[in-house]
């Protein structure tokens, strides 16, 4: 196990058209602690898989250095870095049995027979695959195959980190939760450094101690799930995390008043009056509807999710959505109230300084 440090890592894929290639990954600096559970969260094409492959050594970064426990491993391949990686689609060796699949990485490393057998047995028990140890791997279903992919990493005692590249994409929804719980358990039991790439916020927030949100080849925020929810550093993080995402409303500030579409909705202590490109961010959880106060709104739609209802409304032609909890009802002429303590101000998508958690 090891801590992982990225120093000024950047990557460009070779261009096929001869133009100057753009960065798939913009220069970034990042340190991951030994034994942490991290999630790389972002939309498709944001560079998270590129970053993961740079850490594992499948990809050589075009710039920068990768350090494991302060040792430069940039030029080493994945087998020398002692990395385990689980891919989006389960990779098993079709013609080998489940047990042989698990033994494969150990045999390649030339371990003794007795030791291999013992370790394979441990992992088979851990994954609940003992009963099918001698079944050919190709006859398993997708989630058991994915367990084998994971098992080939767990069977090695010397792995520095286990990397996951959207490992639950092809797994049935009801098994996703189960596998995620198992992963979490394995993490607590063995304390491997785990890095988990996903575009699913639920997976990221439930799996990781720290979530790294990426957008267009750059890291936009790193934080605990709670920090990301409460203090998004970027409007993208606000919108991407939460369901529904944060309301981002174009606004103006006059003195201490925040105006949305000309109507004052809240006050701010920040001195940002007159700045261009201001936006107000507030989570739907902190938008309430009442008969008095606030600003008038026109309700355009209500979605019932079972647990609560999502109300979509217009405030001076600006879309806003709020949440009605169970038992709450919508007034006949609703007015929108924003929780002043939960309002964030952004300029050009970035959180304005001075709004400390």
């Amino acid at each position: 196990m090891a801590s992982i440090e990225l120093q000024q890592i950047a990557h460009q894929y070779p261009s096929t058209s001869g133009e100057m290639p753009s960065y798939a990954l913009n220069p970034l600096q990042q340190c991951w602690q030994d034994g942490g559970a991290y999630a790389l969260l972002g939309p498709s094409g944001c560079g998270k898989t590129t970053l993961l492959n740079i850490i594992s050594g499948l990809l050589q970064p075009s710039e920068g250095r990768v350090l494991f426990d302060n040792t430069n491993v940039t030029a080493l391949g994945p087998e020398q870095r002692n990395i385990a990686q689980v891919f989006q689609f389960p990779v098993v060796y079709d013609t080998l049995s489940v047990a042989d699949n698990l033994a494969f990485p150990l045999r390649n490393r030339g371990l003794g027979k007795a030791e291999i057998a013992a370790r394979v047995k441990t992992v088979l028990d851990m994954l609940g695959l003992s009963a099918r140890a001698n079944v050919k791997a190709r006859n398993l279903n997708a989630d058991d195959k994915q367990k084998i992919s994971l098992g080939r990493g767990l069977v090695r005692t010397d792995v520095n980190a286990i990397l996951f590249d959207e490992p639950l994409t092809v797994i049935d929804p009801h098994l996703k939760w189960q596998l995620r719980t198992e992963l979490k358990k394995i993490h607590q039991q063995f304390g491997h450094t785990m890095i988990y790439v996903t575009h699913d916020q639920t997976e990221a927030l439930t799996f990781a101690d720290k979530v790294i949100v990426m957008l267009a080849g750059s890291i936009v925020q790193i934080g605990t799930p709670q920090e990301l929810f409460e203090h998004p550093a970027h409007t993208f993080v606000g919108r991407f995390i939460g369901s529904p995402g944060m309301n981002i409303l174009p606004c103006e500030v006059q003195g201490t008043q925040i105006l949305v579409g000309g109507s004052p909705v809240a006050t701010t202590a920040l001195t940002c009056a007159g700045l261009p490109g201001l936006e107000l961010g507030v989570r739907p959880e902190f938008v309430t509807f009442s008969e008095t106060g606030g600003v008038a709104a026109t309700v355009t739609g209500i979605e019932d999710t079972g647990r609560h209802r999502i109300v979509r409304a217009l405030v001076n032609d600006t879309k806003i959505c709020g949440i009605l909890r169970e038992g709450e009802s919508l007034p006949a002429a609703p007015r929108v109230l924003l929780d002043p303590a939960r309002i964030k101000l952004y300029q050009h998508s970035h959180l304005l300084a001075g709004q400390v958690p």
Partner: protein, 296 residues
């Protein structure tokens, strides 16, 4: 109850006629010849399985069958591994792919008798580049007189002509393997051999089966090339079943034995193809035919 509409059968009629004319009637003619004898004048009389017994007991047939089996065995033993090796060595992307594919496809476009003629001339000691070259180098080579030389020439010619087919089939199987398998193997520390043995070979097995079947059938039925190059000689050294059959049917006009031999020949090919297919797919069938997932 709905009335049966039998008009649809008229639509199938042209196909039935075509198949009857092209396959069923000729085959039944052969069956007919195989159980009868004739002294000319279009008079036939029934002989039962006599011709079959004669053919099956004749040394001439045994020798030809053994020669043909040996030839097919050697062809498979050379072309399959060589084809896989070349497919593995071919580039996976870039301009090299098209160049290699075109080069590989070229021999496949040449007609059989042209291939035979090319090698017949190529190997001649007096004017052929190969034959004369070998003779000049002091190597005693003459495919018209030496059995070994004749066999070597035919084998090399077939390898030159048909290995491409194996290469193209294997290559198509190889490029279909997702990159992630190689990445996983790299992470598992697999050697080059382990990657081939546990990823590439299992993944190309299906196309390889087709390659083996095609190459077996073709080489087992080979006629044109040995006919052009060696004419079955020296002596009977390269008289394969097909050449023997033609000699019997056209040369000697022994219609009965020739028909019996054709049928036996046909059944042998059918039987061996079935054996190949069964053996190579037995693994799949043994384990509940699990083709779910993981294929691509």
């Amino acid at each position: 109850m709905k009335a049966m509409n039998n008009k649809a059968w008229f639509m199938v009629l042209p196909v039935l006629l075509l198949v009857a004319l092209s396959a069923i009637i000729p085959l039944m003619t052969v069956v007919n010849y195989s159980v009868q004898d004739s002294f000319g004048n279009n008079e036939f009389f029934w002989v039962g399985t006599e011709w079959f017994q004669e053919v099956l007991n004749s040394e001439r047939f045994h020798n030809a069958l053994l020669r043909t089996l040996l030839f097919s065995g050697l062809i498979l033993a050379i072309e399959i591994p060589l084809g896989i090796a070349i497919a593995l060595a071919m580039p996976k992307r870039g301009i090299g792919v098209s160049v290699c594919l075109v080069l590989m496809a070229l021999p496949l476009l040449i007609p059989w008798n042209v291939v035979g003629t090319i090698w017949q001339v190529f190997g001649r000691v007096d004017i052929g580049l190969l034959g004369h070259g070998l003779a000049s180098a002091g190597i005693d080579y003459n495919y018209t007189q030496n059995t070994f030389d004749a066999w070597a020439t035919l084998l090399i010619m077939d390898v030159w002509h048909w290995t491409s087919l194996v290469v193209l089939l294997c290559y198509s199987g190889l490029v279909a393997i997702p990159e992630v398998y190689y990445q996983a193997a790299q992470i598992d520390g697999a050697s080059r051999w382990a990657v081939f043995r546990y990823i590439q070979l299992p993944k190309i097995k299906r196309v390889l089966l087709i390659a083996v079947l095609l190459r077996f059938m073709d080489s087992f039925m080979i006629y044109t090339e040995p006919f052009v190059v060696t004419g079955g000689g020296p002596g009977n050294a390269t008289t394969f079943l097909s050449i023997d059959l033609v000699q019997m049917a056209v040369g000697q006009f022994d219609l009965g034995p020739a028909a019996a031999m054709s049928l036996i020949y046909f059944l042998i090919i059918l039987l061996l193809c079935w054996v190949f297919y069964t053996v190579m797919t037995s693994q799949d069938n043994a384990a509940n035919g699990g083709r779910q997932g993981g294929e691509g």
